[in-house]
C-alpha cells in the first residue's frame, strides 16, 4: 500500500506498464513537460523522447497515428489533454479505431488507451468541461472506463493498457489531487462495479467523481437513518448490470447520478435496464440526477448550476422513498 494522488496513480500505472512492456508508449502534446495536469511528470526523463512522444497540435494525427502504430504491434497511450479536444479526432476514434477490427474481418487490433480528462474543473467554461461518456458507450468496438479513486486509476489504467481493445479512458479533472491508498497488485476486470457502501433502503448508482459524491450522500443519509447502497460502476462498457440489478432487487429503490447532461446520458441506460429487468422489484419511483441540458459557464455561480451535488442526491434518494 502506498499513498498516492489520482494523478500519480495513473502515472505509476503507466510507468509500471512501460517498464514491463517496451511496446507501450505515450503520445500527445506537451507530455515532456509532464502533461497539463502533471500526470506524466518524470516519464520522459525516464523513458526518453521516443516513448513519451511530444507532438504537434494535430489531434487527428495523434489519434489516427496512434492507431496506425497500434496496428503495427505497439501499444500507444493517447493523451487528448481535455476530453473536449478529442472531438477534433472523432472520425479517427469512431469511424476508424472502433470499427477497423470488425470491418477488416478480424485482421486488425487496436490495443490502445485514449485518455480524455473530463468533467467540471473550476471555471474552465463550455469548451473545457464536457463529460461525454455516454457517447462512447454507444459506439461498438470501444471499452469505456471512468475511474473515481486513486486505486482504480492505477488498476484500471493497467488493465486498459493490457487490454487488446481500444479503451476510452476518462479521468476526472476535479480529482487529480485526490489522495488514497494504492495497492499495485490489485487487478481490475472490466465490467466489474464496486459497492462503495452497503445499504438496504436505496441504491445509488454512479461513476467517476460523482461516485465520490454519492459516497458522501450515503453518509448524510445514514445520519438520517436511511441506508443507501452506493455502486460505482467504474467501467461503463462493459458495465456491471448484475451488481445494479441485485442491489435494486434488495433495496427496491434506485437513484442514478452523474455529472454529465441528464438527457441522453448513461443514466438513462441504467434506469432503462432496471425497468426492463427488475421493474417489478421497484418499490418507489426511480430518479436520475444529472446536469440540466445547458452549457457550462465560466462564472462560478453559473457553473455551480450545472453541478450534481450531494444535496441533490440526498433529495433524490428521499424522493424514491416517498420522504
Amino acid at each position: 500500500m502506498e499513498k498516492m494522488t489520482y494523478a500519480q496513480a495513473a502515472r505509476e500505472a503507466v510507468r509500471d506498464a512501460m517498464n514491463a512492456d517496451k511496446s507501450v508508449w505515450c503520445v500527445g502534446e506537451d507530455l515532456g513537460r509532464g502533461g497539463v495536469f502533471g500526470q506524466y511528470i518524470g516519464l520522459q526523463d525516464e523513458f526518453g523522447k521516443e516513448r513519451i512522444v511530444d507532438t504537434p497540435i494535430s489531434e487527428s494525427a495523434i489519434m489516427g497515428g496512434a492507431f496506425g502504430a497500434a496496428m503495427m504491434g505497439t501499444r500507444p497511450i493517447v493523451e487528448m489533454r481535455f476530453s473536449d479536444f478529442a472531438l477534433c479526432a472523432t472520425d479517427e476514434l469512431v469511424n476508424q479505431i472502433a470499427k477497423a477490427r470488425f470491418m477488416f474481418g478480424g485482421q486488425s487490433r487496436a490495443p490502445m488507451v485514449v485518455r480524455k480528462p473530463m468533467g467540471l474543473w473550476r471555471s474552465s467554461a463550455a469548451q473545457h468541461s464536457q463529460s461525454l461518456e455516454s457517447w462512447y458507450v454507444h459506439i461498438p468496438g470501444l471499452v469505456v472506463a471512468c475511474p473515481a479513486t486513486p486505486q482504480d486509476n492505477y488498476s484500471m489504467m493497467k488493465a486498459a493498457i493490457e487490454c487488446d481493445d481500444p479503451v476510452v479512458y476518462l479521468e476526472h479533472k476535479n480529482i487529480w489531487l485526490l489522495e488514497g491508498d494504492v495497492d499495485r497488485d490489485q487487478g481490475y476486470e472490466f465490467g466489474t462495479a464496486v459497492r462503495r457502501c452497503e445499504g438496504q433502503d436505496v441504491t445509488l448508482v454512479s461513476w467517476s467523481d460523482t461516485a465520490n459524491v454519492c459516497e458522501k450522500a450515503a453518509a448524510t443519509l445514514a445520519n438520517q437513518n436511511i441506508s443507501a447502497e452506493v455502486i460505482d460502476l467504474r467501467s461503463l462498457w462493459p458495465w456491471d448490470k448484475n451488481a445494479v440489478l441485485e442491489s435494486v432487487r434488495k433495496t427496491g429503490r434506485l437513484v442514478v447520478a452523474h455529472e454529465s447532461v441528464q438527457v441522453g446520458g448513461f443514466g438513462g441506460e441504467v434506469v432503462a435496464t432496471v425497468a426492463e429487468h427488475a421493474g417489478n422489484a421497484l418499490r418507489g419511483p426511480v430518479r436520475r440526477v444529472g446536469a440540466p441540458r445547458s452549457l457550462v459557464a465560466y462564472a462560478p455561480n453559473l457553473e455551480d448550476q450545472m453541478r450534481v451535488t450531494e444535496a441533490m442526491i440526498v433529495a433524490a434518494a428521499k424522493e424514491t422513498m416517498g420522504l
Binding site: 502534446e29 506537451d30 515532456g32 513537460r33 511530444d54 507532438t55 504537434p56 497540435i57 494535430s58 489531434e59 487527428s60 473536449d84 479536444f85 477534433c88 473550476r122 471555471s123 474552465s124 467554461a125 463550455a126 469548451q127 473545457h128 441528464q262 438527457v263 436520475r288 444529472g290 440540466p292 441540458r293 445547458s294 452549457l295 459557464a297 465560466y298 462564472a299 462560478p300 455561480n301 453559473l302 457553473e303 448550476q305 450545472m306
Partner: protein, 332 residues
Amino acid sequence: MPAVGDNTARARALLTMMERIRAFEEQAVLAAERDKLVLGAIHPSIGQEATAAGVMSNFAIDDIMLSTHRGHGHTLAKGADPLAMMRELLGRQGGCCGGKGGSMHIADFGVGMLGANGVVSANIVIATGAAHGLKMQGSDRIVVDVFGDGAINRGPFLEGLNWAVVFDLPILYVCEDNRYSATTCTADMMAGKGAAVRAEALGMRATTVDGNDALAVADATAEITARIRAGGPPEMLHALTYRRGGHTSFDPAKYKPAGEAEEQTALNDPINRLRDTLALQGLSVAEMDTIHNEAQAEMIDVLTEAAKTPFPPDNMALEDVQDIGSPAQEAY
C-alpha cells in the same frame, strides 16, 4: 484611424493602444495571481502587443475579427470596452459575454469581434465562413482571423485557407508567431518553413513582418487590406513575435532556454521599440510617459470597477442556449 501622412499621430495611436493592452493584461495577471479573482486560465500576450495594435489599426468596427485563447490584445485593439472585458475575465455581470465565456471565449460582437476560441485552429474555418457570408451579401466589410504558430498544424488551417482561395473571400489570415505552442517550441513540431510558405502553396500571397515593430505591422497590414478591400483575394500576414511569459499566467515557462525571455524583453519589447522610434521623431519622453501612465490608470480603474461588479444572476445558467427546447423551459 489617423489621417494618412500623419505618421507621428499614427504612431502615437499605436503606442497608446499597446500601452493599454499591456496595462490591461498586467492588471488581468494581478487579478488572477494577486487577487485570485480570475478563476479560469488566462493567456497573456505581453510582448506581442505590436501585432494586435498594428493589425487592428487597419480594421473598422464593423469589419469582422476572430481570435484565439490569447485574444485580449486583439479584442481591445478592435475597439472593445476594457471594463466589459475585465468583467468577463472575472466572470461578472456586464462582462462582454455576461460572464459566461471568460478570457478564453471573450467576444464583442458590437465591435465585430466574433470570439476567442478554446480550441486551437477552430477559428480559422469559422472566420473563413464569415467572409463567405459577407461576400454572399455583397458587403464591403472584410474579415481578419488571428491564430498562433501552433495552429498551423491542425486540419482547419488547411481547410480554411484552401476554401478562402477557392471562393476568393475577403479575409486576412494573421499568424501571430510567438515561437511557442504551450510548453513546446513550435519549430520542433513544424515541418517546413511555416505559415507563410504553407499559405503560398495554397496560392495565397503571404507577407512576413517583424511582429514587434508596430509600424511595420501596421504598414504591411495597410497594404494588404487595401488590396482586399479593392476586391483582391485572401492573403496572409505572418507576424514574427515572441511570447515573453508562460503559456498561461500560472506557467513559469522553465522550458525556455536560459536568458531568452530576458534578451527579448531587453531588446525586442514592442513598446520600447516604438518609443525609440517616436523619440527620434521628436516625441518627448514625458509625453510618452503620460500615455503610459494614463493607460495604467485606466486599467487599474477597470480592475477596481470590475471587481465591484456582482456575478451574473443564477438563472443565466439556463439562458441563451437555444430558443426551441430551451433548458429555461425544459432542462431535463
